[in-house]
Amino acid sequence: MLHLTAGHVGGLLSRRGVAAFSSSNVKMASHGHGEVTEQADMSVPMYWDRLDTPLPDRPYKDTLSSADKSLKQKEKGPWNNLSKEEKLACWYFFLIRSSVYRMTFKESFAEMKKPTGEWKTVVGGIFFFIGFTGLVVLWQRYYVYPPHPRTLDEEWQAMQVKRMLDMKVNPVEGFSAKWDYEKGQWK
């Protein structure tokens, strides 16, 4: 993840505005049924890690201790290093590890975009339910469907084909065109 060339960094930094997929990592627990304590207060600015809205309403660490505050002051200085492109890669490496970055953002882009493997569950679930549906349909075939109408018997179908050929259905390019009337067989 951190073997970034100078070119890549520019792309990464500018991609904060591109929506890829929204893996919402909002503080509110989506699956905490009995954990009422996890509920985030949505009446104040919230923090989130999202690709499509990359700049949250507040930085990750809200209340800064005195040590944090002095660190924030230093944030104003080193940014001048960005004038040289070749230093960008090292700088970005530094940045992701630094407290300065981590005070403002909880996860880096690379961490945010980490694949979850959720797709395997989804695809597995799809196949499972398709299989189950297959069993249901099979049961229906034996216990629900009425007997076939007689028009689907082999005999009847043969008589039907003969009648269609006698009537010369689609004689130019279609059905009867494929029948050889002299020899009495399919062409």
Binding site: G10, L82, S83, K84, E85, D166, M167, K168, P171, V172
Partner: protein, 76 residues
């Protein structure tokens, strides 16, 4: 940092200049292909069929086969 300033305007126009001629050309090719692969052979097939078509002969063949209700085969 001295990166060159990217193009800010005329992006759609540039894209259209490239893609529109291609789109038109491909559409015309598709239409021509369909005409010469499907419609012309079909017209020829119909022309050939009706060149040697004897309506009364066909009618009598169908009558003898017994498919009509108003005209029964000569045997009945």
């Amino acid at each position: 940092m001295s990166l060159p300033k990217p193009a800010m305007r005329g992006l759609l126009a540039k894209r259209l200049r490239f893609h529109l001629p291609i789109a038109f050309a491909l559409s015309i090719v598709a239409a021509a292909a369909f005409k010469y692969a499907v419609t012309e052979p079909r017209k020829q097939a119909y022309a050939d069929f009706y060149k040697q078509y004897d309506a009364m002969k066909e009618f009598n063949a169908m009558k003898e086969a017994g498919i009509f209700q108003s005209v029964r085969p000569s045997g009945e």
